[in-house]
């Protein structure tokens, strides 16, 4: 298949492409959320040791996985932007940061609400929780640094460096429950393995994971469209868009 991928690295083509893909991501995400929530909250059996509070798992683990995954995608785009000086990659990195930060916040919040009935405490300063909190600060640092520099191209480069250096934190989060003793339970999800033994629990988990992933894709694509318009506002193709002529 001869797809010219470079064509889609131009903001003008990607703007249209993102506008076509985003509604599909949002629609499929909504269906997966409905199914995942139904199976996770209604069908899946009560956990033998944790009772009903284990149901927080179905939102906690997917959002925690995505908080790390989105960071790596963001740092990847930032690195490509830094190396090849491509405009769109830097815009994608900027669009990913707020969603990544929100997923990190959700992972911490749901973790606290799961920790209280399970461990008897909202928070402990152990490796897993602390490194996830640092991830939130890295996202916030990325956004703050980017918005504090007026020249967008310089802002892209400075924030990209921060994102790349900060990506060392992601393997620390991932392996923290193995490297250090922790209140936090061992890994539920590793690449290629899901450590859940009940079928309905596994289904609910995977549905919620893909629902969250497609939700993130939809909002990031929607956000990047606005960023593209903002940063390309003086170009001819933006002036000729039908949504602006209308």
């Amino acid at each position: 298949m001869a797809i010219n991928w470079f064509k889609y690295s131009a903001p003008s083509t990607f703007y249209g492409l993102a506008g076509k893909i985003a509604p599909w991501c949002a629609g499929i995400s909504a269906v997966l959320f409905a199914a995942g929530l139904y199976i996770g909250l209604v069908v899946a059996p009560t956990d033998a040791t944790q009772g009903e509070s284990y149901r927080i798992f179905f939102i906690h683990v997917p959002t925690a996985i995505l908080s790390m995954f989105l960071y790596l995608v963001m740092a990847g785009y930032a690195a490509i932007g830094l190396i090849f000086n491509t405009r769109l990659s830097a815009m994608m990195a900027t669009a990913l940061a707020p969603t990544g930060a929100l997923f990190t916040f959700i992972a911490l919040w749901t973790g606290a609400l799961w920790g209280k009935p399970t461990w008897g405490t909202w928070w402990v300063w152990d490796a897993r929780l602390t490194s996830e909190l640092i991830l939130l600060f890295l996202y916030i640092g990325f956004m703050a640094l980017h918005s504090s520099i007026d020249d967008p191209r310089r802002a892209d480069r400075a924030a990209a460096l921060l994102a790349i250096v900060g990506s060392v934190n992601v393997p620390i989060i991932y392996y923290s429950v193995r490297w250090w003793n922790s209140l936090h339970q061992g890994p539920t999800f590793e690449v290629g393995r899901v450590a859940v033994y009940d079928d309905t629990m596994r289904q609910a988990f995977l549905l919620m994971l893909f629902a969250c992933w497609l939700y993130a894709a939809a909002v990031v694509l929607w956000r990047v469209r606005s960023i593209i318009l903002e940063r390309e506002r003086s170009t001819q193709w933006v002036a000729e868009l039908k949504e602006i002529r209308a």
């Binding site: 929530l37 009903e52 509070s53 609400l113 799961w114 009935p117 956000r223 002036a239």
Partner: protein
């Protein structure tokens, strides 16, 4: 039904989790839509100013 909302006495934790997720998603979707509305408005007024010249 009330049993479902009670979650074996852990309703506060379970619904406190899912409720905040819903709230965060609503705020984020609103913010993304708002940003698009603002930039389109700005571009339209830029265009109108350009047409008058």
């Amino acid at each position: 039904m009330s049993e479902f909302f009670d979650m074996g006495g852990r309703g506060l934790y379970v619904w406190g989790s899912y409720g905040v997720v819903l709230l965060v998603f609503i705020i984020e979707i609103w913010q993304v839509r708002h940003k698009r509305k603002m930039i389109l408005q700005q571009l339209r007024s830029m265009r109108e100013l350009g047409d008058e010249e």
